[in-house]
Amino acid sequence: MAGTTTNFGITYPTNTDYVYLGANAIQTVAQGFDTRLGDVTNYPDQIVNKVSGVSRPVPYAMSSNITSASYASSTMATVAVTFPSSRFTVAPNVTASPASNSNVSKQSVAMPYSVSTTGFTANLYYTLGTAVTATVSIYWTAVQMTSASSGG
């Protein structure tokens, strides 16, 4: 057991090790990954991005896409968006923003609300306050940081 992997530091056998020690070698490799990945069966342990010995947790679940909402001679448009099935275990933090470069988009704000584990609704408001007819693209991102909380 003279070798270790560069990134995860997992110990592995070399070509001069004895075959009869193979089972022990495999156990060491398996145990190395098990230790490295942590107790993922018990929450709130998560997959952690570990670089140079510093742990930086990554989100438990995410989803993101682009959608659109249409003003129909109005100052507000709404669109309901479903998340991928079973993606989230708690209502995630959702951010939304008008994405296109049209004049109507530049004067619009997007507000996510009614966020649940299954989806959310985005309201689009035309800030000039006059009724318009237009379709505006919306970028949205939903993040759940741990298995028990949207933040973290």
Binding site: S63, N65, I66, T67, S68, A69, S70, A72, A77, T78, V79, A80, V81, T82, F83, P84, S85, S114, S116, T118, G119, F120, T121, W140
Partner: protein, 42 residues
């Protein structure tokens, strides 16, 4: 109002899965594929 939304895009991971959503909206969109959901039951 609670809606039951079913995406009918075959390539979508939400295909044929009914998802409940409590909201009031003018349009319904499947998040993963971005397509409009026409199978809406309230």
């Amino acid at each position: 109002m609670i809606y039951k939304l079913t995406c009918k895009t075959k390539e979508c991971e939400n295909f044929d899965i009914t998802i409940p959503l409590e909201t009031d909206a003018e349009a319904f969109v499947c998040g993963p594929c971005g397509n409009e959901i026409t199978d809406v039951q309230s």
